[in-house]
């Protein structure tokens, strides 16, 4: 992300667009084969292991494939059943939507807050950064999700802690009102990756702006709103897109905390978890493929929407010069 603020010319000045292309042709033009040769392992991998299976799943989503017998073409049947007769499909969308809307902003806020704390000069900076980043490395693992379940379970740390101050929840994991929160907190706790990116973004904000702000007598809040946030908005946008996509795909936490059931009372039935149940415990691979493609479409639509709104609030240094 270090280059984010150095390239505005490319965006605003049209004449610049031709030059890099010319240069590229000059550099690789004589022997393009070499470039492709070096690219080939990844291109092949992407084609065979990602694009190929994806196309296969697109085909399967129009069949009744069940893992054992040859798939039969059923047209739009799977999609139609999803929308007309599958109540759990709607539950899963609702649970996932709640998770995305809760966890993404909270995670970004936590990441930004910690990044700003770590942005100050102090000793043992590296240590703190690693410490705060660690949950992201661990958090997606099954082991941590298991620990999480124990912490929030009946008689666990949270339950007995709250009970001692008179709040009796009886454990969050087995309570349909709180179970989703457990997974949200697990997700938010893994704020390390966006935090590191925020930290890099904060370092790019020119010191002069802060100096100017303090000369003008701006307080902390004013500086934050008028300098930090606008200057950081491209990074915020980047993190927002990435984390939203991640949130849509959340699976491990829900799977482990609810023992794969999405319970209690379907309160943690994430879309991906329901997809998994349909595909791998009921062997309805055609149906599950249809669900997977709907998820792809949904994520694409939400991402497109985010890009649309970005025009109104994402600020790139240099743009306003025009």
């Amino acid at each position: 992300m270090a280059q984010t603020l150095e390239q505005p010319a490319e965006v605003s000045g049209k004449p610049d667009l031709r030059r890099p292309r010319d240069r590229r042709r000059h550099r690789y033009g004589e022997r393009p084969g070499i470039a492709y040769l070096f690219l080939s392992p990844w291109v092949l991998g992407a084609l065979l292991l990602t694009v190929g299976p994806m196309l296969a799943s697109l085909y399967l989503s129009f069949t009744d494939y069940n893992l054992f017998t040859t798939p039969n073409w059923v047209g739009w049947d799977n999609y139609q059943r999803l929308f007309t007769e599958d109540e759990r499909f709607r539950t899963a969308i609702w649970v996932t939507a709640k998770y995305v809307l809760l966890s993404t902003p909270l995670k970004l806020a936590a990441a930004l807050a910690v990044a700003m704390l770590l942005n100050r000069q102090s000793r043992a900076q590296g240590l703190y950064r690693s410490a705060f980043y660690a949950p992201s490395l661990l958090g997606a693992s099954v082991a941590v999700a298991l620990v999480w379940r124990v912490i929030f379970d009946t008689g666990g740390v949270v339950d007995s802690g709250l009970a001692s101050i008179g709040i009796n929840t009886g454990g969050w994991v087995a309570n349909p009102r709180y179970a989703l929160l457990v997974i949200v907190i697990l997700g938010v706790w893994q704020f390390g990756a966006p935090m590191v990116i925020f930290l890099a973004g904060l370092k790019q904000i020119p010191k002069e702006l802060y100096d100017a702000a303090s000369v003008d007598g701006a307080g902390w809040w004013r500086t934050f709103r008028s300098v930090t946030l606008p200057m950081l908005s491209p990074v915020i946008f980047f993190n927002l897109v990435l984390e939203t996509i991640h949130a849509f795909q959340a699976f491990t936490g829900a799977f482990v905390v609810s023992s794969g059931r999405g319970g209690p009372s379907d309160s943690t039935l994430f879309y991906t978890l329901y997809l998994y149940q349909r595909g791998f415990t009921e062997y309805k691979m055609g149906y599950a493929s249809a669900m997977a493609w709907l998820l792809v479409l949904a994520i694409a639509a939400v991402t497109a929407l985010l890009f649309r709104t970005a025009r109104t609030w994402v600020f790139y240094a240099g743009e306003d010069a025009k």
């Binding site: 893992l67 087995a174 309570n175 319970g263 209690p264 415990t281 970005a310």
Partner: protein
């Protein structure tokens, strides 16, 4: 802005993808051999099952015995926990790498047999001698007059209770012909005597297995002969109204405890001592059971209102041979050994329940002690009253079972009215077994 900002994302994503690819391509290297094959008269077969480590130890010892008796047959074994086992099995079969001998579940046998994945065991190269296996059990593995799974063991539904706690609470202990009202009254007494800390009974409303016994007591079945639901939504409503009442008056476990019941000891309220009794199968008893439970329990039959017991000899698990196996004779030999051989029987003990082979059972039964002995005695006593196992349920039955528990959650957390919840379950169950 379009051109450079997403490029950062793409670059990071590309890096992540690269890392992933490296992992995948590295993983492909070790996929060369494996599977079954023969060289020079020697035969290798694969045998997979689900279960805990204690069952694995017993099974591997029995397999070792088999190999010393049949030096030209090599058996490769592997096991996993139930859900993982079936996910793996399905993908293995789809990929053409099914194990030769596999452990099959009663709820899945029709599904797999209908799809042509299993070899018949009463004819052809995979024929196994079942002369001494209880006839009542074999019906559970028979689909369209062909035997696709042989149960090595039988088990049946039980009610087990902490008799010391019941006596202390002044609750009437179950006796021959006790009724559901008796259970309700006794459970309430236990709960009251402990101020609700230990409930009288585990809320059993969400477990389809116990619902089935209740249905059978009224002359109904879970599934009809032609694989339809053998009851109505009104039956479900009555059942849930009864169990919901138990929870509401404190006799049964609260919702947050009940929702975690998944058949494992770790989440069993009786083991955790938050309940003093519950329904179960009698196949889970090992010499350590009382230690795990922290007290001794008594085993008895289900309560009943009309005098009809409704319980049956259940072929909980079976051994099957995959149709794709190239070594069906050797595979049949292994199954034959596991179910009919006395020494194998002794080695396996009660690790899968009571041996289905009557002769082996006598041998094994004499040597039992502790909890398995209690289970054995219960089986001997109730055996004559048990009905034959119903034919294997239709495909989708396992989905219907989990749906039953899931929608009962809506009842106990009071998120739905009972009649509506019952209707909803009924519709989903019909959908599950139809498609």
């Amino acid at each position: 802005m379009r051109s450079n900002r997403p490029a950062g994302a793409v670059r990071i994503l590309a890096l992540v993808a690269l890392g992933g690819l490296l992992g995948v391509t590295a993983g492909c290297g070790s996929d060369g051999d494996g599977g079954s094959g023969s060289d020079g008269g020697n035969v290798t077969i694969r045998f997979d099952w689900w279960g805990n480590p204690d069952r694995a130890a017993a099974t591997e010892a029995a397999v070792k015995l088999f190999q010393t008796k049949n030096p030209n047959i090599k058996v490769e074994t592997s096991y996993a926990e139930f859900n993982a086992y079936f996910q793996k099995l399905a993908t293995q079969i789809a990929g053409g790498g099914a194990p030769d001998v596999l452990q099959m579940d009663y709820r899945f046998v029709r599904e797999y047999a209908d799809r042509g994945v299993l070899a018949p065991l009463n004819e052809g190269p995979a024929k196994v001698d079942t002369a001494n296996v209880t006839e009542q059990l074999l019906s559970g593995g028979t689909v369209n007059d062909k035997l696709y799974g042989i149960p090595p063991t039988q088990n049946t539904q039980i009610f087990n209770y902490d008799f010391a706690a019941w006596q202390k609470a002044g609750a009437a202990e179950p006796k021959e012909g006790w009724t559901w009202a008796d259970l309700s009254a006794a459970a309430k007494k236990v709960s009251d005597s402990t101020g609700g800390k230990v409930r009288g009974v585990v809320d059993f409303g969400g477990i389809e297995d116990w619902f089935e016994v209740w249905l059978r007591q009224q002359g109904k079945t879970l599934y009809t002969e032609d694989g339809k639901l053998g009851y109505t939504a009104a039956d479900v409503t009555r059942w849930w109204q009864f169990t919901d009442g138990l929870r509401r008056n404190g006799a049964a476990t609260p919702a947050q405890v009940t929702t975690k019941v998944d058949g494992s000891q770790a989440n069993d309220p009786v083991v955790q001592k938050t309940a003093s009794s519950g329904f179960a199968y009698d196949s889970g008893f090992t010499p350590d059971t009382w230690q795990i439970m922290g007290r001794e329990l008594k085993l008895t039959h289900f309560p009943t209102d009309g005098g009809k017991l409704g319980q049956y000899a259940k072929p909980a698990m079976m051994f099957s041979i995959s149709q794709a196996s190239k070594q069906k004779e050797a595979a049949a030999k292994l199954i034959n050994f596991l179910i009919n051989d006395n020494e194998a029987g002794k080695t396996l003990g009660m690790s899968r329940g009571l041996p289905a082979n009557a002769k082996v059972r006598e041998q094994v039964g004499g040597a039992l002690q502790g909890p398995p002995q209690a289970a054995y005695q219960f089986e001997q006593q109730i055996g004559p009253k048990l009905e034959p196992a119903p034919p294997p349920p239709p495909k989708g039955a396992s989905t219907a079972k989990s749906t039953f528990q899931r929608i009962y959650d809506d009842v106990i957390f009071q998120r739905a009215q009972i009649p509506q919840a019952a209707e909803k379950f009924f519709a989903e169950a019909q959908q599950a077994i139809a498609s």
